[in-house]
Each structure stands twice: as structure tokens, then as C-alpha cells.
């Protein structure tokens, strides 16, 4: 294997791990954000819980694996990313905690105060997780603020207009993904209501997606270098847009799974668009581009990357296989609102 191949393979794998996480968790985070507004009674709440309940923890492991892979294969990236993004990461840790506990525990104790508190914890935390991740990744593409002497990124430099726009785009796509997934999973009146939300959200998502793309071309032009060098790559953002446009007709025809897959494709390709533009950088420094960290610089030793690659190639397909199987198993029939198990004690 040529010497430079390993870091490139790992870069691809790294992107795949993040993309799978975003795609899978977006639906739970989206449903979570809208949770109190979607369900009108406890039965409907239970149905919505059951729509994501069997999956969310398995989905969240992709986030841990993506973090683990960063640490294992690109230790330098991990170290710099952590010092630049440590406030968002701490907030993310807390948000993930309240999301998990809120979803799992809100129905465990029969007490209205308890239920209400954890329901809102679930909602706010779900929103924060996707917003923080969206802002963090938009900033990753946009460029952070660090130079050879160290990190200068703060929470305030992260909250620039481009970062916020990216964050809101990911939030909206997650809401779309969540409502469509919910409609796909449940039946009856709740299903219709979810579809209605999805139609409205689609308009917002399309608008934000378009503005985000225009902003990327104008405000983050360093991302365009790879595209201008290999113009065929422009297919990726184009396909992202095309899939998003397809969501509405698919939804109108009742192809809920198709609409969810199209939404997921948009989320995936939006991230891939950013990563393709970023390559070979992993962390781009906006203020001192020469200090940017590339995949080649950040790579762990070839032996380490080879061993890790063996592990990843052996185990990632197994995990995907089992997860696909689990998803299929739980999608054999729709959740009946009257019979939903939810998360009761």
C-alpha cells in the first residue's frame, strides 16, 4: 500500500462514521425537539417514544465510535479539535445526557411534575444536541481560529453567522427527518399530523439549505478549490439538492420510507460536500491557513492505522448489518397508538 493511502482511507472512514451518526440520530433528535408539540395525549407520547426507543442508543454509539476513530487514527486532530471546541463539547455532553434520561425516564414515574420536567428536558436537550453539532460542523468547514501557537477559538467566534446558519440548517433537516420517520412508524391521526408538519418543514428546509449553499460559495470559498479542480464533484451538492426536492413528491404519494431516505441522503451529502471541500485538511485554520492540520499530518503511525483499519473493516460491516436487521425487524408493522408500549415503568 502506498504510504499516503492509509491517511486517505481513514479520512474516508472518518467521514463515513460522522455521516452515519448524523443520519441515524437526526430522526430521534428531530422528533425529540418537537415531542411536546406533536403528541396530544399519553398514548401518542408512548407511540412516538416507541418510534425511536429501540434505536436511539445504538444510533448514539456511532457518535462515540466517530470520536474514538478520531482519537485512534488522527490523534493530533482529536487534541486540537478538543481544545478548540471544548465548550460546545461539554454542552453536548450535558445535552446528550438530558436527552437520554428524558426519553427513557419521563414515563417511568407516575407523577405529573416529574413527567413534565423530563419531557421538556428531552425536548430542549434534543434541540441543543443537533444545534451544537450543526454549529460545530459548519465551523469545521468554515474554519476555526487557531495558529501554530495554539487555539484562539471561543464560543463567540463559533457563533458567527455562517456557523449559526449551518446549525439551523441541520436542525431543520433533523426536524424534517424526525417527522417523516414518525409518520412512517405510527398510524392513525398522529401519522396525518406528522405528515402535515413534514410538508411545512420541507419548505423551511429547502430555503435554509439553499441559503447555506449560497453562503458556502461566498463566505467559505476555500471549500471550492477541490471542486474547481475536479468539477465532477459538484454532483455531490447537486444530488443533495435533488434528493431534498424529491422529498415532497414522495411524501405526497405516501412513500414515507422513500421520503425519509431522501431526507437522510440530503443530510449525508450535505456533510460530504463539506468534507470533500475540506480535504486534505481535517481542521482548517481560518486565521492562519498555513497552520491547518491535514490528514497526513494528523495520522497515527502506519502500524496503528493499519491495525485500526483491520478492526474497522471487520466490525463496521457487522454493526451495519445487525443495525439494518434490527431496523427491518421493527419496521414490519406500524405502531398502533392504542397499543404502544413506550417507556412506561
Amino acid at each position: 500500500m502506498p504510504e499516503q493511502a492509509l491517511p486517505v482511507i481513514w479520512y474516508v472512514l472518518w467521514v463515513v462514521l460522522w455521516v452515519v451518526y448524523f443520519v441515524l440520530d437526526s430522526k430521534t433528535l428531530g422528533l425529540g425537539t418537537l415531542f411536546p408539540f406533536l403528541a396530544r395525549n399519553e398514548r401518542e407520547e408512548a407511540a412516538l417514544q416507541e418510534a425511536v426507543g429501540p434505536f436511539w442508543d445504538g444510533d448514539e454509539v456511532w457518535l462515540i465510535t466517530a470520536g474514538g476513530a478520531t482519537f485512534a487514527a488522527f490523534p493530533l486532530t482529536y487534541a486540537v479539535m478538543f481544545s478548540a471546541l471544548y465548550v460546545p463539547f461539554f454542552l453536548l455532553l450535558f445535552a446528550l445526557f438530558y436527552r437520554a434520561v428524558g426519553l427513557e425516564f419521563m414515563s417511568k414515574v407516575k407523577d405529573p411534575g416529574w413527567h413534565n420536567a423530563w419531557r421538556w428536558a428531552f425536548t430542549v436537550a434534543s434541540f441543543l444536541v443537533i444545534l451544537l453539532l450543526g454549529v460545530a460542523f459548519a465551523n469545521l468547514f468554515y474554519g476555526l481560529d487557531f495558529d501554530a501557537s495554539g487555539n484562539k477559538t471561543t464560543l463567540f467566534t463559533l457563533l458567527n453567522p455562517y456557523g449559526i446558519l449551518g446549525g439551523l440548517t441541520f436542525v431543520t433537516l433533523a426536524l424534517l427527518s424526525g417527522t417523516i420517520w414518525g409518520a412512517f412508524k405510527v398510524s392513525g391521526e398522529l401519522e396525518k399530523r406528522l405528515e402535515g408538519y413534514a410538508h411545512t418543514l420541507w419548505v423551511v428546509a429547502l430555503a435554509l439549505f439553499s441559503i447555506y449553499m449560497v453562503a458556502t460559495a461566498n463566505r467559505a470559498s476555500h471549500l471550492l478549490a477541490n471542486y474547481n479542480q475536479v468539477p465532477v464533484l459538484y454532483v455531490i451538492p447537486a444530488l443533495a439538492l435533488l434528493l431534498l426536492l424529491l422529498v415532497k413528491p414522495l411524501l405526497s404519494r405516501g412513500a414515507q420510507l422513500g421520503a425519509w431516505l431522501a431526507t437522510s441522503g440530503t443530510i449525508a451529502l450535505l456533510l460530504v460536500t463539506g468534507f470533500v471541500g475540506l480535504f486534505p485538511n481535517m481542521l482548517y485554520s481560518r486565521t492562519a491557513p498555513e497552520a491547518s492540520i491535514t490528514a497526513y499530518q494528523a495520522a497515527a503511525s502506519p502500524l496503528t492505522q493499519t491495525v485500526m483499519l483491520g478492526v474497522a473493516l471487520a466490525l463496521v460491516p457487522v454493526v451495519i448489518g445487525y443495525q439494518f436487521w434490527a431496523y427491518k425487524k421493527f419496521s414490519e408493522r406500524k405502531i398502533d397508538v392504542e397499543e404502544a408500549k413506550g417507556y412506561g415503568a
Partner: protein, 458 residues
């Protein structure tokens, strides 16, 4: 306010102390879920399958908390100990990466198990799902403990002033301490979890002595307690012999063995006053036998190490208490089986539980649950503080590897509050799952009427 080093140490110790509670239950309980489902399948007993599902619901709660505290540790490694990560990051990355895959197994199959479980469902399916959860849980314990093993007996890399060179991740994962440490951690988690589950059954039997489902569950837990209790003791003995060979300063600190000598006595407890040990129970030749297997063997003492390289003497108490509590728990399990054996003509599990055990045994089992977790904590305190002053033995000291960021200090309070909240939530939720009596009623039910001698309803 503390300096960054002290704050980092407090925060790490705090997080690990909480994490180990949930992790121990998280590693041990799924094994019993799988065993119960397996036996339910073999003998066609739905009671055991019902118990397994009941345990599964509580297990899901501890998993959620184990994930939160575990993720905190992952974050803290980088945030609080950056020089340590720069030094050892590459060598411990493999097991940390593998652990995420073990965790996938656990998470995916826990969802499958809990959501597809039905009383009349196919027993093979329940058993297989539970077995995969147990496999994933034990595998993650193995991987994480191998990181701790590396810190005790580093291998698979050349760590020099210029950095970490020639990293061989697989060798680092299987460092000399990996075998003894992982086996002891796994067995003790199974041992301690048996008492957590036994406490639940004991409480249920105290509430309703005719609860045959609880009686069968208790029997299974006591089987595990005896088997894994013996295993924990044996692996503990191996660990002691391992320390004598590879980390003699740790063993010497644990046993208050100050001077290198043959025919070394074993000291239990005692007080350290003005340079001498007082009030200790001394067993001649004891330490030589325990550490080397022969009464005359020479055991390295603390005098073989410069004072700045010696672990703190307080680990002696952690070690001794761990051993005493461990044997107490094993004695409880042995007592159960002795009563079963003595009344074997009666045979049936449910009758043993209701009538053949004295009334004190049930509250004793309930007390044994926190005791078993405390024993695990003591073991970890010994393991971690016994490695001091090193963070990676012989290579890097704890004091050299902490962050210099002064903001760490207030994080201690933030996370202490978080962990206390977590524990309170866990208690409330578990109480709701396993019977929502108030604490007072529960207390009275457990400890009331003990002077009567026999359990009610027999």
C-alpha cells in the same frame, strides 16, 4: 478552590467512583439475564424469563447512567490529562476503539431484547439477544480494563523524552497485567451483581414469601454468587502473586510490608503510628505464602523503593476491607447453599426460600447489595492509588500529566451535582420499576419483626 492538578484528580476520582457503580452492574447483570433466559428455555420455566425481563428494565436504567459517566471519562482524559494522552494516547487507542464496537452489540441488542420480549415469545430468541448483550458488556469491561493494565505495566511502546515511539497497539493491549486484571474485574462484577439481584429477590420475598418467581430468581443469583465468589477469590490470589512479581511496591503498600525479607508475616489492619505498626493482627509467614506460595520466600518491601516512588499507605485499609467484605459476601452465599443442602429432601426452590431460611437472611441480603458495590469500589481505590505516584508506572507521574487550565476547579462542583442528580434519579426510577413503596414502608418491611426468628408465612 483547588489548583488544576488537585481539581483534575478530584474530578477523575469522582467520575470513576460513580461510573464503577453503574459499570459493575452493567457488566454483571446482563450475564444473569442471559443465564435466566437460557435456563428458562431449557426447563420451560416462564418465571425465570419474567425475572430476566424485570432485571432488563432496571439494567436499561443503569446503562443510560453508565453511558453518561463513561462518556465523561472519555472527555476528561483529553481535557484534564493532555500530557498523559500525548504520551499514552496511541498505545491505548486500540482497546478504546474496540470498546465502542462492544458497546454497539450491547445497545442494539438491548433495544431488541426489551422491545421484542413477550412472555409467550420464542425462548431461544430471548436467550440469544440476552447472550449478545452479556457478551458486549463483558467485552467492553475487558477492553477498558486492558487500558488500566497498560497504565500499571506499560508495554508495546518505547516512551522516551522525544515522545512515544515504536507503538505496537496489540502488544500494549495485552500488557503483563491484562490477564490478571481483566479476569478479576469480570469475576468480581459478576459476583457483586449477584448480590444486587439477590437483594431485589430478597425484598420481594419479604413482601410476599409465596412469590415463587422471586425465589427462583434468588436461587439463580446465589448460584452465581457462590461460583463467581470462589472465582473472585482465586483470581485475587493470582493478582497478589502477579503484583509480587511485577509491581512489588503495590503489594508492599497493600500489606504494610516495609522491609524486604524472607518468611514475611501478613499484617491485617492495624494503625501506623510514629513509624511503627500497632494493633495489627499478624499471621507469621502469611505474606510469603500468599505472594510466592512458600513460607520462606523473600518478599520485596517498600524499603526497596525510594520514598518518592512509594504508594500511599492508606491503600492497606482499602485492600484489607475489600478482602474482608469479599469473604463476608461469599459466606452469605455459602450459607444459602448450606441451608439448601441441609433441607435437600424438600428440594423445591420456592420452599427453600420461604421456610428454610431464617428471617434475618433476607434483610442481610438487601444490605449485602450496597456492600458488594462498596467492595468493588474499595478494590478500585486500591488498584488506582496503589499505582501512585505513577500514572503510567515507571514512566510518568500523576503530578506531571495534568492540565494547567485553572477553570477545571469549578467543573468539580458541576459534575458532583450532575452525579448526585443522576443517582437520585436512578433510585427514584428503579423504585418505580420494582415496587413503589415509600422508603419507610420498605424499611419496616425489611427489618421489622426480625426478633421472631422465622420468616413470616413459612
Amino acid at each position: 478552590m483547588w489548583d488544576p492538578l488537585t481539581a483534575s484528580r478530584i474530578l477523575t476520582a469522582l467520575t470513576l467512583s460513580f461510573h464503577i457503580l453503574f459499570a459493575t452492574i452493567g457488566v454483571g447483570v446482563p450475564l444473569y439475564i442471559a443465564l435466566a433466559e437460557w435456563r428458562a428455555m431449557r426447563i420451560g420455566d416462564r418465571d425465570l424469563s419474567r425475572s430476566a425481563y424485570r432485571w432488563g428494565k432496571g439494567y436499561a436504567v443503569t446503562v443510560a447512567l453508565g453511558v453518561v459517566t463513561g462518556t465523561s471519562i472519555g472527555l476528561f482524559l483529553n481535557l484534564l490529562w493532555p500530557p498523559f494522552m500525548a504520551l499514552a494516547g496511541q498505545t491505548i487507542a486500540l482497546p478504546l476503539f474496540l470498546e465502542t464496537f462492544a458497546f454497539f452489540l450491547e445497545a442494539i441488542f438491548l433495544g431488541l431484547y426489551l422491545y421484542t420480549w413477550r412472555e409467550d415469545g420464542p425462548p431461544l430468541r430471548n436467550t440469544l439477544y440476552a447472550a449478545v448483550i452479556a457478551l458486549g458488556a463483558s467485552a467492553s469491561a475487558f477492553f477498558i480494563t486492558s487500558v488500566n493494565a497498560f497504565m500499571n505495566t506499560p508495554a508495546g511502546a518505547r516512551i522516551t523524552a522525544e515522545g512515544t515511539l515504536d507503538v505496537h497497539p496489540v502488544q500494549a493491549m495485552f500488557s503483563p497485567a491484562t490477564a490478571t486484571k481483566t479476569v478479576h474485574v469480570l469475576l468480581s462484577a459478576y459476583f457483586a451483581s449477584a448480590f444486587v439481584l439477590a437483594a431485589l429477590s430478597a425484598y420481594e420475598l419479604r413482601r410476599d414469601p409465596r412469590d415463587t418467581r422471586a425465589a427462583k430468581a434468588l436461587r439463580l443469583a446465589m448460584q452465581g454468587a457462590l461460583l463467581f465468589g470462589v472465582g473472585t477469590v482465586l483470581s485475587g490470589d493470582f493478582s497478589g502473586k502477579f503484583l509480587a512479581a511485577y509491581q512489588p511496591e503495590k503489594l508492599a503498600a497493600a500489606e504494610w510490608h516495609f522491609t524486604t525479607q524472607g518468611a514475611a508475616p501478613l499484617r491485617l489492619f492495624g494503625l501506623w503510628e510514629d513509624g511503627t505498626v500497632r494493633y495489627a493482627l499478624t499471621i507469621p509467614y502469611g505474606l510469603s505464602v500468599l505472594a510466592k506460595g512458600t513460607p520462606s520466600a523473600v518478599v520485596t518491601g517498600l524499603d526497596a523503593f525510594p520514598p518518592e516512588d512509594r504508594p500511599p499507605l492508606v491503600v492497606h485499609y482499602f485492600f484489607d476491607l475489600m478482602v474482608v467484605f469479599g469473604f463476608l459476601l461469599l459466606a452469605l452465599a455459602a450459607y444459602y447453599w448450606w441451608r439448601v443442602w441441609r433441607t435437600r429432601s424438600v428440594g423445591q426452590a420456592e420452599e427453600v426460600a420461604t421456610g428454610r431460611l431464617p428471617a434475618w437472611f433476607f434483610p442481610a441480603l438487601v444490605v449485602a447489595a450496597p456492600l458488594s458495590l462498596m467492595t468493588v469500589e474499595l478494590g478500585w481505590y486500591f488498584a488506582e492509588m496503589g499505582r501512585l505516584p505513577w500514572i503510567v508506572r515507571g514512566i510518568a507521574r500523576v503530578g506531571e500529566t495534568a492540565t494547567e487550565n485553572p477553570a477545571v476547579s469549578w467543573l468539580v462542583y458541576v459534575f458532583l451535582a450532575l452525579y448526585v442528580l443522576l443517582t437520585a434519579i436512578a433510585v427514584r426510577v428503579l423504585a418505580a420499576i420494582y415496587g413503589s413503596e415509600g422508603p419507610e414502608t420498605a424499611f419496616r418491611r425489611l427489618f421489622g419483626g426480625l426478633r421472631g426468628g422465622e420468616s413470616r408465612g413459612s
